[in-house]
């Protein structure tokens, strides 16, 4: 099972990164299944057990609202991300439930071409393996730094 889980999760990670980087944000909520939880926090808050997130969503509806707000409401300069993901580590397997940790690096490209490393960190994920697919239930994005440049618009 272990080998297959890693393969399924790797595919799910790649799909997730392409979804955001290709600006298909409307599809992003559909990458979450079951009891959805998505949170962005920092390594220091995570270590100290502080609950609040920069983004906190405990329903797919809240993810949909994030996307609608970015498309319809919020003002920010056009920008894109490039996610570079490291190899997932399987932290635990309990039946079909698999927990993993995956390192990421995200470059942000502004419309004038200015490109910078915007965030580095880890995804702490819970997946359910269903019919040869890793379905994302929970993702806690733990940024290494506590400093966010200007604003965080697009999801990580």
């Amino acid at each position: 099972m272990y080998g297959n889980s890693l393969q399924y999760i790797t595919k799910a990670q790649a799909d997730y990164a392409r979804c955001i980087d290709d600006d298909r944000l409307e599809e992003w909520p559909s990458l979450f299944h079951g009891p959805c939880l998505y949170k962005i926090t920092t390594a220091s808050n995570y270590r100290d057990g502080l609950e609040a997130g920069i983004v906190f969503a405990n329903s797919r509806g809240m993810l949909t609202d994030r996307v609608s707000a970015l498309r319809e409401a919020n003002i920010y300069e056009r920008q894109t991300y490039r996610h570079i993901l490291g190899l997932p580590s399987i932290l635990s397997e309990d039946g079909a439930k698999v927990k993993s940790e995956t390192p990421f690096m995200v470059a942000r490209i502004l419309q004038d071409g200015d490109t910078s490393i915007y965030a580095t960190g880890r995804y702490f994920d819970t997946y359910e393996i269903v019919d040869g697919k890793a379905q994302l239930n929970e993702r806690t994005v733990v940024c290494d730094s506590s400093r966010i440049d200007t604003l965080l618009a697009l999801p990580l």
Binding site: I40, G53, T64, D65, A73, R147, T150, L152
Partner: protein
């Protein structure tokens, strides 16, 4: 303050006109202005937010922060009192403490030459002070009690720790005034806050552009679609602003009036804010009645760089730290309270989406200062216009006013002597 004054060291720049309705752009651009602010405002007779008392709950707890450029250590000593002193060794000026926060600290030792300080900032030890085998060491004339980092005066207001380098700063109650004190008490009085998270938003602009934004009740429902559409805040709602006598502190508040008919003045402006945007998960905005006064929003600022925020049940303090002329750290501390039920805590976590670096409301405040900073790049001779609501800096029942922004400049100019 009403005389025409040239900016320091930039004799070619445009003078600051009389009154409070114009702000010359050089004040956001000039390195010598920045240096002057460090002396006259940040080291001057003002109170600066340092931390929450609950962040230093036990003797031995400590944290480091900044007042403007100046690094500061804040401690709770074994006498249970709060102390703060400059994070600078009295020997050769190195940082004494390199950590953000910690516990069980009995003393602080500079890593450079191990000069040692107690939690009150007193120099208690100098390595090899008496030399080795009678050779070397400090001269007899060196007295440890004559050396040490600068100590701050401390004042605590409803669990907020403020510090000042100045001996001339008035007592905090006098500095804030009764109205501002009452509005702090409204949010924090008699309660035990719990830190839910800490985030730093790095703003690409001068610190004063962020303070203007905080005090600007005119922009809120125009720039922030989220506020307006969901009736968190509309200029036509009940509410108002309070500007203290100095001009430097303000409160903007509003209360939802569910009986009020949809205001036609809004539709007439054809603002971007009038969209048909709806939430897929409206539980984001399900609040509990925390203050029993109908007030859904209260933004309070203390001159020069502190903000206390209540947006529904999203409570936070914001500390603004200038890092350079065009770079500012905005330190968010999200709060709950010790007696929150699990449901109330979840409400706060959800409503935290409104604020911070990714906040539905505040993300725009993170970039709009940068838009100004970039917009004015070639216009240091020109001036911003602050005429909305008149020319004064007084409290008002209307929030269609820039009175509290003018108040900021009134206090700023008084401190800077320009």
């Amino acid at each position: 303050m009403n005389k025409i004054v040239l900016p320091p060291d930039t004799a070619n720049s445009a003078p600051w006109p009389e009154g409070l309705t114009r702000v010359p752009y050089w004040v956001f651009q000039d390195q010598s202005v920045y240096a002057e602010e460090q002396r006259k405002i940040f080291q001057g007779p003002n109170w600066h937010y340092l931390a929450l008392e609950v962040e230093l709950a036990e003797p031995g707890d400590f944290l480091t922060t900044n007042i403007g450029d100046t690094p500061v250590i804040v401690t709770r000593d074994t006498d249970n009192e709060i102390y703060a002193f400059e994070n600078r060794c009295a020997h050769r000026g190195a940082l004494i403490c390199l950590e953000n926060r910690g516990r069980h600290r009995k003393d602080f030792s500079c890593v450079y030459h191990a000069w040692n300080y107690d939690p009150q900032g007193n120099l208690t030890g100098v390595a090899f002070k008496d030399g080795i085998k009678g050779k070397g060491g400090m001269p007899d004339s060196f007295k440890m009690e004559q050396h040490g980092p600068r100590k701050l005066r401390i004042a605590i207001v409803h669990g907020l720790i403020f510090g000042s380098f100045s001996e001339e700063v008035p007592p905090i109650e006098e500095y804030l005034g009764e109205e501002i004190l009452n509005r702090i008490e409204r949010v924090l009085g008699g309660r035990t806050p719990v830190v839910l998270g800490r985030f730093t938003q790095v703003l690409p602009n001068n610190w004063k552009l962020y303070m203007e934004n905080v005090k600007d009740s005119y922009h809120a429902s125009i720039l922030h679609l989220f506020f307006t559409t969901f009736e968190l805040n509309r200029l036509s709602m009940k509410g108002g602003i309070i500007v203290d006598e100095s001009g430097g502190h303000h409160v903007s508040y509003s209360a939802i009036d569910p009986e009020a008919v949809k205001d036609v003045d809004y539709a007439k402006q054809q603002l971007r804010s009038e969209s048909e945007y709806k939430l897929a998960d409206p539980t984001l905005l399900e609040s509990f009645d925390e203050y029993h006064d109908g007030c859904t929003l209260q933004i309070l600022s203390v001159f020069p760089t502190f903000v206390l925020q209540q947006i529904q049940n999203a409570i936070a303090v914001r500390q603004i730290v200038p890092r350079a002329v065009t770079k500012t750290d905005l330190n968010w501390t999200y709060l709950g309270f010790a007696d929150d039920t699990p449901e109330q805590r979840l409400t706060r976590l959800k409503q935290a989406n409104l604020v911070g670096p990714a906040g539905y409301i505040s993300m725009e405040d993170g970039c709009v200062g940068g838009f100004v900073q970039r917009g004015i790049a070639g216009a240091s001779e020109d001036q911003a216009v602050l005429e909305m609501g008149g020319a004064e800096a007084n409290s008002s029942e209307s929030r269609v006013t820039e009175a509290s922004v003018r108040g900021f400049w009134k206090a700023y100019r008084a401190h800077m002597g320009i």
